[in-house]
């Protein structure tokens, strides 16, 4: 079927291999293309992974818009905004790291990577502050979940006396929801909030782990103009994680702040 010439010795290559070329690839170009296609396919997978959450978010946000708006007010725009800025900054430093690796600047690569990791850690630190705040306010879904407004609604309990007063959060526009309902439906918001931001944070942690390895490799001088694929792939991954946040931030923090 093929006109392959069958030699007893298959290792008749004359030219020298790049040390990073794996045995089953013919050229560095082929190896790199494979990595790039593989990474994009992986990111496609990731999009669908988060897609399921976004679908659930979309449905519940349409159903319980008021609860989502109300719950999102309890998030701190300051911390959220800061984190957005930090992540965008880290995308920049990551891009610089890839550029430095491409031009074979070893020290610069290491420095940019370290800076990216620091920014990533700052992001996670802010997330810890935000999560701690949620724990304090009993905004973590589960049996201890307590929506703040529920405290202000004295009668909305078991008695159901006709005409029980309804807590309308002061200073906000009038809500068509009472405390009981907020208690129920804001919990869905926070369930999604924690699942989405938690998974995002997990991706960041994995990203920082990958970068630790890459930084070490860069430090050891494993990369050059011909071979910097790992840096580039880590960069793609990091940008993806950033982009997820760019969607999460408005969806979770800015539900109703467009007015």
């Amino acid at each position: 079927m093929s006109n392959a010439v069958v030699h007893a010795d298959g290792h008749g290559h004359a030219h020298a291999h790049h040390p990073a070329l794996q045995h089953h690839f013919d050229t560095m170009g082929q190896q790199k293309e494979a990595a790039v296609v593989g990474m994009w396919v992986f990111l496609l997978t990731e999009i669908l992974f988060f897609g399921g959450l976004f679908a659930a978010y979309m449905i519940y946000r349409i159903w319980y818009f008021d609860a989502f708006a109300e719950a999102s007010r309890s998030l701190s725009l300051f911390w959220g905004g800061l984190n957005t800025a930090v992540l965008i900054g880290s995308s920049l430093t990551m891009a610089m790291a890839v550029r430095s690796a491409q031009t074979n600047k070893r020290t610069a690569t290491v420095n940019w990577l370290v800076l990216t990791m620091i920014l990533g850690t700052v992001f996670l630190g802010v997330k810890v502050i935000e999560y701690a705040d949620k724990f304090e306010h009993h905004h973590v879904p589960g049996y201890n979940f307590q929506w703040a407004a529920a405290h202000e609604a004295p009668a909305a309990g078991a008695e159901h006396a006709p005409g029980a007063e309804v807590a309308v959060a002061e200073g906000h526009r009038e809500l068509s929801l009472n405390a009981d309902q907020l208690q129920l439906t804001t919990q869905i918001y926070f369930s999604l909030y924690f699942t989405m931001t938690g998974l995002h944070a997990l991706h960041m942690i994995i990203g920082i782990g990958i970068m630790l390895v890459i930084t070490w490799m860069a430090h050891k001088g494993r990369f050059d103009e011909q071979y910097y694929t790992p840096v580039e792939m880590a960069g793609l991954y990091w940008h993806f994680v950033d982009i997820v946040w760019i969607f999460l931030f408005p969806l979770l923090y800015l539900v109703e702040r467009h007015v």
């Binding site: 909305a156 159901h160 005409g163 068509s176 929801l177 009472n178 009981d180 309902q181 129920l184």
Partner: protein, 333 residues
């Protein structure tokens, strides 16, 4: 239908049974035709072109575009016929006639509870008259169930927090099976029952017999007072809540400017989840009854409210098969 005394075909006890079975035989005949043609071809080719000597190879035939198009287009046309026929049967199955008699069913681990408007309550038993369309509104107290009447060829899932509906018209008096077809835990296979189709006169006699605690609507009226609904929902319209007189089937305007048709789904939501859709001009004062009213009492209340709208046609009162209103489930046992 039986072969050697073994039933191999379910009884045809409803008007749908014939529709569904004709569809079944049509698809069966079409499928069998294609299966037989392919089988004959495959076997014939296997014999006729059997390899006779080593090194023999087949003729080189790469394909034939007209043939490919032919056997793409013909199945497409047949599939569209199946789709159209199936969709029309389905549409019919999903549209209860206005005059249908109404029964409520609640699925619960592991039993079916039925409530007649006249007040009779049954567990795993259902008595219905022959020759009259019957609409069953189904809900669940715990997990998913599915109410299945094989002899009537219809079923619908019972979903906690929602009302779903099915209807049928039983034709032949007799006893038929009720199954739960959605897996619901340990005793899923014990969640079976019997539907007894009676001649209309026998059905009337059955309704008269047995302890009667008043009709479903009457029970609802009592609850309406017990739960103090009546203190706000005054018929005069002067109460703190809107008057419920003659509202079923009407469209009311809501606080946020949108409007909603008053049907079972809306009533259910307004009781359990009272602040979800407030009628314009009223304050969100009503407490939620989530967890305080069982599914059974809920349908009694709804029936009571519906009885306050004597002119509303049943069709208008009929919720669409799936009320997409996500209302929290009733009490949890």
């Amino acid at each position: 239908m039986k072969i050697f005394g073994i039933p191999i075909f379910p009884e045809q006890a409803s008007t749908f049974a014939k529709d569904v079975d004709s569809l079944y035989f049509f698809i069966f005949a079409t499928s069998a035709f294609f299966a037989v043609v392919v089988a004959i071809a495959v076997i014939y080719f296997g014999i006729r072109y059997h390899k006779t000597h080593d090194g023999e190879i087949g003729a080189r035939i790469e394909g034939n575009l007209p043939l490919e198009l032919l056997w793409s287009v013909i199945p497409t046309i047949i599939a569209m016929v199946m789709f159209g026929w199936g969709a029309s049967v389905f549409y019919h199955l999903r549209r209860p006639p206005a005059e249908a008699m109404h029964i409520y069913a609640v699925g619960k681990q592991w039993m079916w509870k039925f409530q007649h408007l006249e007040g009779q309550r049954e567990i795993n038993e259902l008595h219905i008259p022959a020759g009259r369309p019957i609409k069953i509104t189904v809900s669940s107290e715990d997990v998913l169930h599915s109410l299945f009447f094989p002899a009537f060829r219809t079923k619908i899932d019972a979903i906690p927090g929602r009302y779903t509906q099915l209807w049928f018209e039983a034709q032949t008096p007799g006893s038929y099976r009720i199954f739960c077809t959605e897996y619901c835990g340990t005793n899923h296979s014990g969640m079976i029952g019997t539907v007894t189709v009676l001649e209309p006169s026998a059905y009337q006699a059955w309704l008269q017999g047995g302890g009667n605690e008043g009709s479903l609507a009457q029970r609802g009226a009592k609850l309406f007072n017990d739960l103090a609904c009546s203190t706000c929902h005054l018929d005069t319209g002067q109460g703190r809540g809107p008057s419920l007189k003659d509202i079923v089937g009407k469209t009311v305007e809501l606080q946020d400017g949108s409007s909603v048709m008053v049907d079972e789904g809306y009533l259910r939501e307004s009781i359990l989840n009272s602040q979800a859709k407030i009628v314009k001009g009223f304050q969100p004062l009503m407490p939620t009854f989530q967890g305080l009213v069982s599914e059974e009492n809920l349908v009694a209340l709804i029936e009571h409210v519906k009885s306050m709208s004597p002119n509303a046609t049943t069709a208008a009162a009929a919720a669409p098969t799936a009320t997409t209103t996500p209302a929290p489930a009733g009490e949890k046992k």
